[in-house]
Structures are given as structure tokens and as C-alpha cells.
């Protein structure tokens, strides 16, 4: 924290803009920590409060709008790309789709506080053809809320800045090492878990050519469309004769899938 405070003092409000811009563009940076630290420095009179908040707002809104436009133009592919680079791709897609199916653009009000959702919110809303004015309005509200809360937390605790800095000087490196080790361990665990799952699935997959051949020859196969309703809204075309079952309905409707036939599953 001491280094962070010194760094912020030296480079001022511009650094807040750059860090928020890069984080909202997709880089894994802890911009909320920077905003809290900046808030503490605003409270201590080292930084200019309105300028910090104005630059943080600009730094967030610009990449958010760019991602919104990219999502609108590239659709599902951009969501797959963003989820592929996430630590838990399956949870990433499920979390985003369920949140947006339930709350719509209002999800933007809390998205910035949730790292996975934050990255996906703008392209997903673009992909779902949410109106630009609606997106801008909800995104502005969510971003202002995020900045005010983060800077506010720092401001409230600005009186304890010296104590925090002293504590960080004493324990900062140890705590940092523990946190980095836990993150690396978690990342390695999720990576291994996914590789094992993919290896098991790879054994029994079917290609488009093989499926087309089976259908053309009249073979009795059951094709199941497992896409989320939101994905089907974006791409309504489906494989002819496919049984449509949303991922959330699988438990309740698995009885509809015959046990004595070849079953082919697909999603996006």
C-alpha cells in the first residue's frame, strides 16, 4: 500500500484514468484498489476529488462503449473469446447469462463490483441488441455508483492512511505472497479440472460432417439444442428436428431424452 500511495502521489489523477481504462478494456488490474487508494488521498488533500472521479468515469465509459459495439457486431464469438480467457469459462458463461436473463441491463448497476460479470457486461448487452441509449444510461449509473463507493471507502478511511501504510510496510510482502500463492493455486486447480473434463469429453465428440452424414442417411439420432434462451434469441437457427432444452431445464426434462438412441448435444 505504501508503494501504491507513493506511486499515486507521484503520478496523480492521470494514473487512475489509465488503470481504470486498461482494466475496463479487459486487463486483470485491481482498479478498485486504486480507486480506494485515490479516495484516501483525496481525503488527505493530496489529490483532487472531482478530477479523480471525472477521469475514472471517462476511463470506464470509453472501453465499455467500445466493447458494447464489438459485442453488437461480433455476437457470440466475442463472448466465447472473453470466457475462454477467464479462469472458469463454464461458470463465466452461466453467471453472465443468468444474471442478464433475470435482471437485463439493470445488471450493469452491480456489474463493476463483480470481476467476471464486469468484463462481459458490455459485449453481452451489445450482443443482445439492447438499445444504445438504455445501455449508456444504465452503464453511467453503474459506473458512477462504483466510483462513488470506491472513492468513498478510501475517503472514509483517509484518517487511517498512516496506520495502513505502516501495517502494509510490516506485513505487506507476506500478505502479498500469501494472496499471490492462493491465486496461483486456485488458477492451477481450475486449469487442471478443465483439462481433465475436456479430455473426457474429447473421447466421445462428434464432428459436423459425421452428424450430417447420420441425418442424411436417416439414422435415428436425437439432437438436443442446449443453448440458453438468450443465445437462441441471438441466433434463432437450429439443427432441423433438434429438441430444445435450456441448460437450467436439463434436470427436469432429462426424461424426454431416449436412452436407447444416439444423443447429440450442441450449444454455441
Amino acid at each position: 500500500m505504501t508503494d501504491l500511495l507513493q506511486f499515486l502521489t507521484a503520478h496523480g489523477e492521470g494514473l487512475v484514468f489509465v488503470v481504470v481504462l486498461l482494466e475496463q478494456a479487459g486487463l486483470p488490474l485491481p482498479s478498485m484498489v486504486f480507486l480506494i487508494a485515490a479516495g484516501a488521498m483525496v481525503g488527505a488533500g493530496t489529490l483532487n476529488g472531482p478530477l479523480v472521479m471525472g477521469l475514472a468515469l471517462a476511463g470506464a465509459l470509453i472501453p465499455n462503449y467500445v466493447w458494447f459495439v464489438v459485442g453488437r457486431r461480433k455476437g457470440n464469438r466475442i463472448l466465447s473469446l472473453l470466457c475462454r480467457i477467464s479462469l472458469d469459462p463454464d461458470a463465466c458463461v452461466r453467471l453472465s447469462e443468468h444474471a442478464f436473463a433475470r435482471y437485463g441491463p439493470a445488471t450493469l448497476l452491480v456489474a463493476k463490483f463483480m470481476p467476471g460479470l464486469n468484463t462481459l457486461a458490455s459485449p453481452l448487452l451489445g450482443m443482445l441488441r439492447v438499445g444504445t441509449a438504455r445501455f449508456l444510461l444504465f452503464n453511467l449509473a453503474g459506473t458512477v455508483l462504483w466510483i462513488v463507493v470506491s472513492v468513498g471507502i478510501g475517503h472514509v478511511f483517509s484518517g487511517q492512511l498512516e496506520q495502513v501504510a505502516a501495517w502494509a510496510a510490516q506485513w505487506g510482502i507476506t500478505m502479498g505472497l500469501v494472496i499471490v500463492s492462493l491465486l496461483l493455486g486456485w488458477g492451477a486447480f481450475k486449469y487442471l479440472q478443465r483439462q481433465i473434463l475436456l479430455r473426457r469429453l474429447r473421447v466421445g465428440r462428434i464432428t459436423v460432417d459425421e452428424l450430417q452424414e447420420k441425418l442424411a442417411s436417416g439414422e435415428d439420432v436425437v439432437v438436443v439444442d442446449l443453448r440458453h434462451p438468450l443465445e437462441r434469441e441471438v441466433e434463432p437457427a437450429s439443427i432441423p428436428g433438434a429438441l430444445t432444452i435450456g441448460p437450467g431445464e436439463l434436470q427436469a426434462r432429462q426424461g424426454e431424452i431416449p436412452r436407447d438412441k444416439d444423443v447429440i448435444l450442441y450449444c454455441s
Partner: protein
Amino acid sequence: MALRLQRHGVLRVRPLVGGIDAWLERKLPTEGSAIADLAQPEPV
């Protein structure tokens, strides 16, 4: 999903490589889209 179904006794289950995107890329027949619906003959 495939593993979940296997646990429920659907043993002959296989996921499609590339999903619907791969199917669409090959321009194979579909149903449900505006283009696919237009391609269908009008019922008499």
C-alpha cells in the same frame, strides 16, 4: 452437460464439435431462423 446426462443413464451421448456455429459455418440446413423459414415452401 454430457457428463450430467451420462450420470442420468443417457449413455450414448456425444457433444457436437464446434456447436451450432460450426454447423452454420458449413451452411447446412437449419430451422427457426428467418432465412430458413423463407426457404421453406408455403403450405398448401
